[in-house]
Symmetry: C2
Subunit: 674 residues, 2 copies
């Protein structure tokens, strides 16, 4: 539909949509950076969505049963900001629109989760919003099954562009949603035929409609500038028993004589002259950032359209028992259940006594058996490595179209899709997801793992097979840089527990934080219990602690994590036997140690003794503890990997790569000049 | 087709395929680890491929015009090893089969590039082989266009499983191949309906045939155990003008009563008892690892089937002019052209004199303009950020179905697919690929970037927008951990050049190495030329060097990379003005500095002066240079990022995050106790 017809046939709609377009043009121009083309292209679709379909109450953006609106094409952030401002969201006054892309504004270049309510998830890295939306829809299904339709019953709407759909993560997300028959997920494809390099045909011949149909989706289409046609498609979409793609044919930079349908509309301001021309074409005589009050009121009426629904919802929830209400609230707010601490403590006591020799992936399973029975909001899963990641406990049941109460997800070979879905589940609320793969394949999920950290969502990554200790599968499967990758990423807890006790403590941290994702680096190979004396305190919470004190005069400190703590303990015995007093420090989580008081760090790592760190990984990053924190270059050494691994039996690999108690002893003695 | 029918109707074929199956069972059993189910399932397909279609000469596995065979489902490595052994590949004697998955064997758990000829690329991480094969096929097209059909004219055959097809990278690869109409690419899908967690239906409802058709592929199918039907499909596939998927319906663990069609066939030995039963069912009475000599001869005849074709090819090549032959060989062996060094030198001299103030992404473009005219084997591209990555130079032309001589690829929004394709191009031979995206989106390509390093292929990653210096796009686009990620990865050169001269030097290194991938971290923002005195020597080759010496008595050393070298130089001037002698060390490549002689490192970083490192990134890893190499904790400090970035104008971000000359000066004075 062209502008003349649109203005004539749908004048009210047109002016509403123009308000979005004008704010987008103006804000991008004022910032002198940003992406006007997409909001100008999708304003009609967004207007119909908000006016006719999206269930929301702008003044109560936290309403748990609201529809979720996810702007996967995050560069079009002004579309979202304009909608929040126009509908009257309390977090989005006009001042924020004026401060688009400025330091400390809520209107960052791309939508940042936590900056303003109504930004459901961080987007910008393409495909992430779409993939997270699958998690939103899964969480909705889970909560609807667990708390009933009167409490949770809503849709997840997504705007995605060609960039989102070309990214590999979209394949995983689309496949997962199709398999899971997520009928409450509706994706609005901004089919504008343009990407940054030019026409889509330069890089793609994909028939997106056929592609989505092949994945089990319902596929609809509409003229993305015709409000009646958009409304028809959305109405139909809500009736589908499968996830829905609506192909919305649009024009990027709609109405701009110089920029419409061209890549130049995408990522830079239109310029004052072109904006002036576009204003005339739009019939929009208002100054920059000015929305006439009647139009603002019309938009605010849209914003309060859902108020009565919200009130009805609140009345329904109020009818639940107090306990039920409290439980619903607890799960939504990520409060750990009271029974968790005692359950973890009991397990720790038991294993300190029984001292099993098991792989920490098995330890993790032992913890999950305890956890999953007291934390009903966990949803576990694995990227097709269930038996290897030990992520499934018997009581979970499989989450599937036939069993939405199930709490275990067969994600398929989709690490990236899994990670993104887990982000979405946390952000929807009511779910604490964890998911497994091999640590090496964190590589496949990196994009979403970074977003977990950036957004501060407490997803738990169960990463087994965490070193050359996995043996014969060889270097493609043996992480040597992945511990460093996690440690280098801000706001990420990397736990590498040494035994079942530390694994339990790590899980306790991971399940009680509200703002940090955790990566559990777990061994394939069996490890002895090293925490043989029960401590009610969570020692892993300190990040590092003295596991064994020196008996003879303290001349050496051995630092180690995970499977190498056993080696440190053996080396200590050998050194003590020679009269060299040796302390062993277990360091399951650097990040937590790093934020301990200086006095504690000084106690654990005093100046004086020589220091040797042992980890079946690269040295990269270890200098912080070896040379810093009162360390000295000539009194420190590292035992670990210097290159990629190799295929062979694990014990032999440790020997060949020189990661042994004997090598540690030799290094200590060398540093001591003996 | 069932075994009884197969044995009856195709007895010769059956025994050949059995040889593969038996070796796979036996080797996995001997190693007590590995994946027998896939080779048992795909042996018929592989036998027909090698016997009837694959153009190869087993005794000359380096023949440049051979068909490439890529086992994307790398866990089925014994399929490949068995084929190499049976056909008589010189690198694969029986001893290697017996040593499957052992230390220093050529038969690693997953196929490792470089371990034995015939292993065209490393696979195991799912989807990587499939995605690399797109690069193989692109390289073939390019060389065929450049050197003619008489020199290069072959197919790329791939075996991929459901795991490969579920991974997101497969979407990017399939989309790229479809767009590029790579008619010489034929993918054999091992459609056995099983993944590790069980039946595919547990995690997927994807109609793979429809999916590939939607991407512009030709889709065929066959009974993967009927040699006639397999042959028919392969014959037809070779006639297609588009890439081809052959859906091969197979049974995992074919013939094993306890394991066929079940996930338990996938990843563990069958066990001696089951192997005994299977041998009987197969009619294979031979001892473990024994292949009857007539059968071995039959397989070796298959191996030498292509010998005459190879000889004919050699005769054709010999008819080329000497210069043409030399050029062909040079490109295949990654020898840099002789003119490159002089061209780089001339550019360095010019920019040292003219001292342009440009972003290093622009510097990179200036280098590429010089390089692409003297290095005809470069193929550039970008994941839809051509104008931002500055990767396209005017003379390249677009590589496309209509123009195979084009040397620029519009990869689309497919970072992972691009990286994998580049790996494949190098491994095919005859191409030096480079490809661009934003440094932050290295996350999307991590899986393939790791393989570049592990395989030792000299791909060049052009990663622009390398810090908060990109400004308003905000934290989703601002790398703070990615320098560390690259540095933590073995065998990866991370270059972060400070100006055009260093950028030219970095490119020279990247284009002359034969065994290491390079990551170019390049600025969005303009930077002054800091190398104002021309040096013919490549100083970047040393990794770090003294950029400006102290004038007053040397009390401080400032270390910096890339865009922060400018800040270091400013701080130096301010310090010198106060009488504090200050050396500035530019460190464009840690990895190269790390392998300099101790004496050189000592010269650059002497003990004594205080050290401050400046980098708009995390400190993680910097302690190596601050505290190590004769450094001291109380005399060292870091100026950089402590968390994720923010949206705002770049200059303001630098100020707000405290990455300034003033902050550097203050830190130096604090360390000096002033």
């Amino acid at each position: 539909m062209d502008i003349a017809t649109l203005r004539e046939k749908h004048p009210d709609h047109w002016m509403k949509a123009c308000a979005i377009r004008a704010l987008a043009m103006d804000a991008v121009q004022a910032a002198n950076s940003g992406h006007p083309g997409m909001p100008m292209g999708m304003a009609d679709v967004a207007t119909v969505l908000f006016e006719k379909h999206l269930r929301f109450d702008a003044r109560n953006p936290d309403w748990p049963d609201r529809d979720r609106f996810i702007l996967s094409a995050g560069h079009g952030s002004m579309l979202l900001y304009a909608l929040l401002y126009l509908t009257g969201s309390p977090d989005m006054p006009l001042e924020e629109i004026r401060n688009f892309r400025q330091w400390h504004s809520k209107t960052a270049g791309h939508p940042e989760y936590g900056y303003a309510k109504g930004i459901e998830t961080t987007t910008g890295p393409l495909g992430q919003g779409l993939a997270a939306s699958v998690g939103f829809a899964m969480a909705e299904e889970s909560l609807r099954a667990r708390f009933g339709k009167k409490v949770i019953d809503h849709y997840t709407w997504v705007i995605a562009g060609d960039g989102c759909l070309m990214e590999g993560i979209s394949h995983e997300a689309v496949g997962l949603a199709g398999k899971q028959k997520l009928s409450r997920l509706i994706v609005l494809w901004d089919n504008n035929n343009i990407s940054i390099d030019g026409e889509i045909s330069k890089s793609s011949v994909t028939d997106q409609r056929a592609r989505f149909a092949a994945e089990g989706w319902t596929v609809l289409h509409c003229d993305g500038h015709d409000p009646a046609d958009i409304d028809r498609a959305m109405t139909e979409a809500k009736k589908s028993d499968r996830p829905v793609l609506i192909d919305c044919k649009t024009h990027i930079g709609f109405g701009s004589p110089k920029k419409q349908d061209s890549a130049s509309a995408h990522g830079s301001p239109l310029g004052p002259d072109e904006i002036k021309v576009v204003r005339e074409i739009y019939g929009w005589p208002h100054e920059a950032f000015v929305i006439p009050s009647d139009l603002k009121q019309a938009w605010e009426a849209i914003g309060s359209r859902g108020a009565s629904e919200r009130e009805a919802w609140e009345a329904r929830v109020a009818q639940l028992s107090d306990a039920r209400q409290a439980e619903f609230k607890r799960q939504l707010t990520l409060e750990p259940p009271k029974r968790l601490a005692a359950a973890i403590r009991a397990l720790k006591k038991k294993v300190s006594e029984e001292q099993p020799k098991v792989a920490t992936r098995k330890s993790s399973e032992m913890v999950l058996e305890v956890v999953n029975s007291v934390v009903p909001e966990t949803i576990g899963g694995s990227a097709d490595l269930t038996g290897s990641n030990n992520t499934k406990t018997p009581d979970l049941g499989i989450f599937d179209a036939d069993n939405r109460k199930g709490r275990y997800v067969h994600y398929g070979i989709r690490e990236h899709g899994m990670a993104a879905a887990m982000n979405g589940m946390v952000q929807h609320g009511g779910v604490r997801p964890y998911g497994g793969t091999f640590l090496c394949f964190a590589d496949y999920a990196r994009g979403s793992m970074r977003l977990s950290a950036l957004m501060g969502v407490p997803v738990v990554y169960v990463m087994t097979h965490d070193s050359i200790g996995l043996g014969e599968d060889g270097p493609t499967h043996q992480p040597v840089e992945h511990l460093a990758i996690c440690r280098a990423t801000p706001n990420t807890w990397l736990f590498r527990p040494a035994d079942t006790v530390e694994t339990a403590e790590a899980w306790e941290m991971a399940l009680t934080t509200k703002g940090t994702p955790s990566v559990m680096a777990l061994s394939r190979q069996n490890l002895p219990t090293v925490r043989t004396t029960h401590s009610t305190r969570n020692l892993t919470a300190q990040g590092a602690y003295i596991l064994r004190e020196a008996t003879a005069r303290r001349q050496a400190i051995l630092m180690a994590t995970g499977s190498e703590v056993e080696i440190a303990l053996k080396a200590r015995e050998m050194l003590e036997a020679e009269g060299i007093g040796t302390r062993v420090v277990s360091m399951p989580c650097w990040e937590l140690f790093d934020c301990q008081p200086e006095s504690y760090r000084r106690k654990v790592l005093p100046a004086g003794p020589v220091r040797v760190a042992i980890e079946a990984s690269q040295r990269f990053g270890w200098d912080r503890w070896l040379l810093g924190e009162r360390g000295r270059e000539n009194k420190a050494a590292f035992i670990g990997m210097e290159r990629f691994g190799a295929s062979g039996p694990a014990e032999l690999l440790y020997k060949e790569f020189g990661i042994t108690a004997e090598a540690t002893v030799a290094k200590v003695k060398e540093l001591l000049g003996q």
